[in-house]
């Protein structure tokens, strides 16, 4: 199977500091992948590069069967090409209802004129309701999303990502700030999502990663340190050193 996302030879420097250093790896079209690594390893920066927020100094990032280069596209174009992103901090539009948040994310034409003329059909409303149901917010549709709990906001954001119908989903520390029960629900959601698309999860929490039960990539100082199953990489001496070194 050919790769959906190909990152090769990417480097990025912030004020002389190399945050990403000759990073290369591939993600297949239907794959769940965990990325772990100590603080400052460059995990978030990697997502910034793929989603167009940060431009790398060198290297290439291509996406899809036709290997479109993402580096020449704007954030919005990358999102429309099928890359969804969930931030480390839950970012939903707190001033608006759960329904409106999901409706905004629903895959539809994104141009100003089309959006101005848009009126939600019954089908659209049903889709939004189904999505809310799926992420466990079925009874919260009319609530302002700012009133939701931290965990519920994370799910709303996951719901919004699902609504976008992305082919590649980048999820940054989904379990941060969640209770045990909320984490289990989140794991199930991620595993389910990865059946039909590629999902890349960045996470610190080893137990969470273990539950995902997938291939793991260890990042350190901006490049890949090890790759394989969790048991495989945790036996790797350099990984042990990086993690023990962290204290």
């Amino acid at each position: 199977m050919s790769a959906l996302l190909e990152v090769s030879g990417v480097s990025v420097t912030f004020d002389g500091f190399r945050a990403i250093n000759n990073l290369s790896f591939n993600i297949a079209a239907q794959e769940l992948r965990a990325i772990i690594g100590p603080n400052g390893a460059g995990k978030t920066t990697f997502m910034d590069i793929v989603t167009g927020k940060t431009r790398p100094d060198e290297g290439s990032v291509t996406f899809g069967e036709r290997s479109v280069s993402l580096l020449s596209l704007s954030e919005a174009q990358i999102a429309r090409a099928g890359v969804g992103r969930k931030f480390q901090r839950p970012t939903v539009f707190e001033d608006q209802s759960v329904f409106d948040n999901l409706m905004m994310a629903l895959k539809k034409p994104r141009g100003p004129l089309a959006v101005l003329m848009f009126r939600a059909s019954k089908g659209d409303a049903r889709k939004v309701r189904d999505l809310a149901e799926e992420v466990g917010l079925g009874d919260q549709l009319e609530r302002k999303s700012g009133e939701l709990s931290h965990g519920q906001k994370q799910w709303l954001e996951i719901g919004m990502l699902l609504a976008q119908e992305p082919r590649l989903l980048l999820v940054d520390e989904p379990a941060a700030g969640m209770t045990l029960a909320e984490r289990e629900h989140t794991t199930a959601l991620l595993v389910e999502m990865a059946k039909t698309r590629a999902v890349v999860v960045v996470e610190h929490d080893m137990d969470f990663v273990r539950r995902l039960d997938c291939k793991v990539t260890v990042l350190h100082e901006g490049s890949v340190l090890a790759e394989g199953t969790l048991d495989h990489v945790t036996k790797n001496p350099s990984v042990i050193e990086v993690y023990l070194g962290r204290g």
């Binding site: 978030t44 001033d95 939600a120």
Partner: protein, 410 residues
Amino acid sequence: MTQGFLAKNPSVLIFLAALALFTLAVTLLSHAYGVSFLSTSFVKTLGKTLCLCLIALAMDLVWGYAGILSLGHFAFFGLGGYMIGMWLMYARTEEIVVQALSGAPLPPTPEEIVSGIGTQIFGVVGGSEIPWVWSFAHSLPLQLMLVVLVPGLLALAFGWLAFRSRVTGVYLSILTQAMTLALALYLFQNDSGLRGNNGLSGLQNMPGQGAVTQDQLSVWFLWASALALGLGYLLCAWVVSGKFGSVIRAIRDDEQRVRFLGYSVESYKLAVFTLTAIIAAIAGALYYPQAGIINPAELAPIASIYLAVWVAIGGRGRLYGAVIGAAFVSLLSSWFTGGRAPSINLGFYTVNWVDWWLILLGLAFVLVTLFAPQGIGGLFDLWQGAKHPKRRGAPLGPDDGSFQEKEAVE
């Protein structure tokens, strides 16, 4: 605009009804069509106030909803005024010139008329040539088109440059101020072709309507302004009611997140900026015929800042708030600065409102920003809150043992 839209937005109906009632009342109290209770100059003040309400709507759309604090919308207002003023002045002068020449034994040639108009209009700035910017001034339809096109294209060009390079926040506000200042300074020059600091005058006279009195005209313009405000309100309410409104409010709150949803934030900002510039221009085109005169001082940067103050005091992010703020503050302002407010004698010092009004306004602005960010419009929430208790409670969901949110902050 279906029935569903109005049914879902009852405040629109209430607003339109109040506006209609107001217009009817003023008409019945006017000199021309009623019991002569209101002076013609006061009817004009009310008509102008409606135009200010319309530009406040535009400001609310661009700032309150889309989060773009433009401090330049009065430039578009002024440009709209200049565009209509050119036709008013040209056509009126043409009438006068034709009349003056009609006594001559031979009928005047077109050239004679044009040169007469040139001398009449541009004598004050020492010229008699009609500058090229007046090329369309002979034609009302063309000049009306320019009311929309000139400010619209300026907004489009300015917005394209600013938004494309992702200028936001304070920097954008400063840039809009610079634009206003540059435009005002340009218009101040005699060779801008718009009579420099003299501006355009005599705009209260309707060409071809010599028989119509100012008493009648003032009411006509009040109707036109009320109609424009009503339509503007409908348009703005419709724009913000659907997904478009959702998207622009989302841009206001977190534009980066909106980009990752696949919306091109820049096009939305540009669309809103340009649309509101056009609304502002139409408001200006209705305002200045009632004011009678326009000069570059009208485009002073401070005017656009007042606009932001009105909207803030009225309550941004809700359309009726903007209208209330503009009406309330501008009427109060003309009362205080018109010398009608009684001075307060404190014994050791006399508070003269003409001087102190700005300080009062500034203070009110600071207090509203600090203590009542919802503005006057927030009072409606209090009133509605009495009917529907707030649903907001403690956040749901088990939070015991979860990480603190700050641990999850990037």
